[in-house]
Symmetry: C2
Subunit: 145 residues, 2 copies
Amino acid sequence: MTDDATPAPARRSVDLGHAEALALLGSVSLGRVVFTRQALPTVRPVNHVLVDGDLVIRTHERAALTLRAGQGEGDGVVVAYEADDIDPVTHLGWSVVVTGYARLVTDPGERARYDALLRPWVDRTMEHAIRIHPTLVTGVRLVAA
Amino acid sequence: MTDDATPAPARRSVDLGHAEALALLGSVSLGRVVFTRQALPTVRPVNHVLVDGDLVIRTHERAALTLRAGQGEGDGVVVAYEADDIDPVTHLGWSVVVTGYARLVTDPGERARYDALLRPWVDRTMEHAIRIHPTLVTGVRLVAA
């Protein structure tokens, strides 16, 4: 804790616009999907890719997120997705949060396309692709004041 | 996407025990708090410190999490907290998720103690400390197969 006890450099938070936030999200491949499981908030790290303005993630068949998305009718379920790149020492960087409906990808051609773009976290078979259409995109950049 | 299209090294996921997961969480200072705002899942990066087995984060007074925690009576509200250290190229590393009740710290002495340990993200006044007692601690280590 010695490092944290020293005076931190002055920082301020700058809100990002929609386009810049999505561009930053697309510049990295790792993030965290946030959803509700048995009425409790939960979060899981996954990798992602941006496809035509939508976010596509890959997750295991038995994962709660997939089950929920598969169970949803019509609009699917609402999830949040966060990615960031924040320096652990200076705490400078950025964070982007996307909120939107998650849908299970069922079309074989669409699924094959995402399989070529996305690497799964671990070697498991029977994974599913989830496509998230951003309805809300927010982000902040943490800069030196 | 060229990098992601190349064959990924074989990886597997190993579940972490409670103690090891908490130790990893305590080895980093950044994470993401996950909560529900207006019935929607949301997530915000913050910094944290482990104090006597509890997780303490600092957040702004007007933040939705603080308001929810402050409004809660008795047990507070349930949140999830995630921290990870995952290599963006190899996807090896670890992720830990804590679920528990969030409580606003109101005792001045306790608050002063956390102020000395935690650095806020940005230079804002009137922040609050939130203490989360872990009721569920899970984690995975992503290792080469």
